[in-house]
Amino acid sequence: MSLAAVILSLLLSPLLLSVINRSKALLAGRRGAPVLQPYFDLVRLLKKGAVYSDVSAGLVQLAPVCNLAALMLCALLVPLGPLPALVHFQGDFILLAYLMGLGRFVTMLGALDTGSSFEGMGASREAFFAALAEPAFFLAMAGLAKMTNCQSLTGMLQTISIQHWQHNAPSLLLILVAFFLVFLAENARIPVDDPTTHLELTMIHEVMILDHSGPDLAMIEYGVALKIWLMAAIAASILVPPGTNPLWLLLFLVLMALIGGLVGLVESSMARLRLIRVPQLLIGAGVFAGLALFLEFVQ
């Protein structure tokens, strides 16, 4: 039963990317790519060969594998609505944060290893913004832990109920907003980073993977999809009432699609922030999450 969450995550994660792309296409008045396009892309990339830079020391080849491995481990820790995570213990959200950090770290090493100055620039930006997103993430998690008196991700997310929404609506809303901003920053979406841009001077995540090709790129793209899925799952779990009713799972999946649609809406309706404004957004997220934690202590 608990294996179901992991299998669902691994299978369905590219679908969320396609929901985001679909909603963007709809809002722009286009028809959009087929729903299964991310899967086709992955298969296409897996069939290709890879090209490596002459100056690399091999980290370029190692990075996508390590990144994907770290993110798949994350999938073991995140519950999907009514389905508990396969592994849960006290403080597992810290492991989750640092597994994602590990994935980011090896991606940055791989980017530096290609010897391209642009990729180094992207890696430096990624490190900076991730450092700012981390306090916001932990403050949001601490707020949830204080509210629910649980220390594991599964415990926290499955304890939140209608009662919490009645009594602690402001702090839950603040946590949701803070978490959504961290979600946008961590997954390199607009307004922090534009996933479709290929102008080296402005991009963050895309510039780090410029020199990856073939199966390596497939692993990175799959990792991107998995990360979006997992973080959206945490956000959706805050909204879904607990219980083992299979209907809740359906509701949960609909909520995930709605979050995808929201990301699409944000991407269609606003421009990327200037790089110097991004820290302000993330510090704002940190202040929101801190305020939520503070509200929990005051009550």
């Binding site: 402001p170 302000q280 510090i283 704002g284 202040v287 305020l291 503070f294 005051v298």
Partner: protein
């Protein structure tokens, strides 16, 4: 249960943090107006039983702070042709962080004050926080209009404090304060216009050699 009161207090905190973090002056003016309305509503919601005088005072405050002040300030904004606070003395990130710590310390401080019950102490804490925000805006911003906003936020905080101890303060004092603020905002609007006409900027740090 989530009450209207806690929603108002929550809005108060959010408006303060928004003011500390945003640079567009027109947006800041509207935020201060919203804050004034929220503070005007607090005695209406919180004071039981509500006397006619206090209702009148709240209504006057709401009309002044939510309608007249923003109108005056937006007009002088148009005249002065400034859109945003470009480089404040204390950056937005730092002032946002300072604001967060000010919030925590004002709650700790208010809990030590010998005032009524728990809910009153929260209102006092947030009123203190509003005053600190106003002071911070006053000292850290460069445009003259931002300083007017800081002054208004400071006054909002004082009004919030007054809302808690409203039974003990004579009406005349409260109305007097409101009149003072009105005259001040009126005067400062004219002053900004004059400064702008003489010097084609309203940066306060370049007004050091202004002599009468």
């Amino acid at each position: 249960m989530l009450t209207l009161m806690s929603l108002l207090l929550f809005l108060l905190v959010l408006t303060n943090l928004t003011l500390l973090g945003s640079s567009r002056l027109a947006f800041c003016i509207r935020t201060v107006a919203l804050q004034g309305v929220v503070l005007g509503l607090i005695p209406l919601v919180g004071l039981q039983p509500l006397s006619l005088q206090h209702g009148l005072l709240s209504l006057t405050a709401i009309v002044l702070k939510g309608g007249v002040f923003p109108w005056l300030l937006l007009r002088s904004l148009q005249v002065a042709r400034v859109k945003r606070e470009v480089e404040p003395f204390i950056g937005f990130n730092v002032s946002l962080s300072i604001g967060f710590f000010a919030l925590i310390s004002s709650v700790v401080f208010a809990s030590k004050l010998p005032f009524g019950d728990n809910k009153d102490s929260l209102i006092i804490a947030l009123a203190l926080f509003t005053m600190i925000t106003g002071l911070l805006l006053l000292i850290s911003r460069r445009k003259a209009l931002s300083m007017v906003l800081g002054y208004l936020v400071l006054e909002n905080g004082i009004y919030g404090l007054g809302a808690v101890v409203a039974d003990h303060i004579p009406m005349v004092v409260e109305f007097g304060v409101l009149l003072d603020v009105w005259v001040a905002v009126f005067g400062m609007g004219i002053a900004i216009y004059q400064i702008n006409r003489e010097f084609d900027h309203t940066d306060v740090d370049r007004l050091t050699e202004l002599r009468g």
